[in-house]
Amino acid sequence: MAFPGPIARLIEELNRLPGVGPKSAQRLAFHLLGRPAEEARRLAEAILAARERVRRCEVCCDWTDAPVCRVCSDPRRDATKICVVESPKDVAALERTGRYDGLYHVLHGAISPLSGVGPGDVTIGRLLERLRAGGVQELILATDPDVDGEATALYLKDVVAPLGVRVTRLARGLPEGGDLDFADELTIARALEGRREL
């Protein structure tokens, strides 16, 4: 059965979202249509506002609504440490622990030859600039413990070596194949404390 044009279009757009299959897309579309028009407008505006105002932090590449994000511009943060993560979700997960006082660097992905993601497609170049600018003593690699994340960490270790920065890796012990944003706060805090020289 084909839906009228505008509904079909809404379902199609929702279906593009990660984790939303055709059935969920339909459910969400019908839900939105069943609510007051005002609600739909608020949602649409929130999406637009976020999309237009949010950009990458000039320093760490995390999402921010200012040129430099809140963590990077906080003078109390320890600027001698940078923790490298794959995505902004991981920053949020580490921040929730309240046990990390250094800075971050968001790669926006991991190296994967199979998906055509090379070192130039993530923010490694920007990270190297930050390290060359000096002042950083420890680079904590917190990429995911999966195959791509491990390889990305190993690659970083190699290209950073000439810069004389201490490189550590989060301790294992995260859930099987688990990403940072799935782990509970205690587990992440332990992984952080148990980090080792790579």
């Binding site: 030859p113 390889a151 990305t152 190699d158 099987e176 194949g177």
Partner: protein, 375 residues
Amino acid sequence: MAERRLLSRLYLRDFRSYPRLELAFAPGLNAFVGPNGAGKTNLLEAIHYLCLGSSFRAARDAEAVAWGADGFFVKGRLRDEAGDLDVEVAFRPGHGKVVRVGGRSLGSTAELYGTLPCVSFRPEDLEWAKGPPAARRLWLDRLLVQTSASYRAELLAFREALAERNALLVRNRHEKAARALLVAWREAYLERAAALAAERARALAEIGRRAAEELGALTGESLALAVVSGGEAVVPAAGEASAWRERYAAQLEAVAEEELVRGHTLAGPHRDDILALLDGRDARRYASQGQQRSLVAALKLAEVGHIEARLGRLPCLLLDDVFSELDGSRRARLGEAAMTRAQTFLTAADDRLLPEVAGARVFDVRPGAAQARDG
């Protein structure tokens, strides 16, 4: 006493030669009897789908779709102490395969493994000792994914690392990759390769001990299983990941140039072989027909023992024609050790080839239909 999980019913829709079929099984022996081409093996294949989500003979699911149909559906009702559990496998070319357990769709077929463990024994298995290495690797993989969640995880991670590294090697042929990138992927690959090989070696040691016991009882011969890696036999007890890492690193070093040319990873668990030593001699070269048969019977019994020990539950047995190929003692031992305890599905061309087991249910099979005898 091991718990049992039985396949109590099977329902097929457009699977191979069956447009539609429903069967109720006995807890012990179920025999499919009929002439060549009647569709006996098709039934075992359907049951294999319920166990591993895939065929034991076709590489592509599409081959199992009844000619002219747009997909197949296999459903089994499992029964154990806890009650009934339905397993469903639905496939449509172009739409992929959906596996459901208890009404819930699984994220991947791997989640099905172990739900209804099985040991299959088919005519090809008689070639175990002399067949290609890939068949022996597949034999071990199919067993271990059913009994070990960590093996499943390691196998998936290894395959991913292998695919990534191969992709890098291929790209590198067109556009030289940075040295650091090649190093990083070699290290990441070695990590997964070593972890998988170590786990595989430990499991093989255990299965080897069981098989040796079985073969000793059958023929009095001694048996040892080993992994052959880089042309060198490795005692499986050497289940240390660090040792495997060193071994594969050395092998990669030796083939480094060739890999860059071929764009393919040339050392790792996917290139290793499994070796059986009968009274100290390589079965690939020296085993007679009869010795090969005894060896396979011993391996099958070892699989049953391994599954029972690991899962606390007996597997079902899928015996395709081979039972009639075994003689006296091998047959008796398989029969008594397994069939009288585990639920068994076997095929035979006619009644004279059936083992005598009380409570057996015989199904007459003809193209497109199968019917239980006596009701």
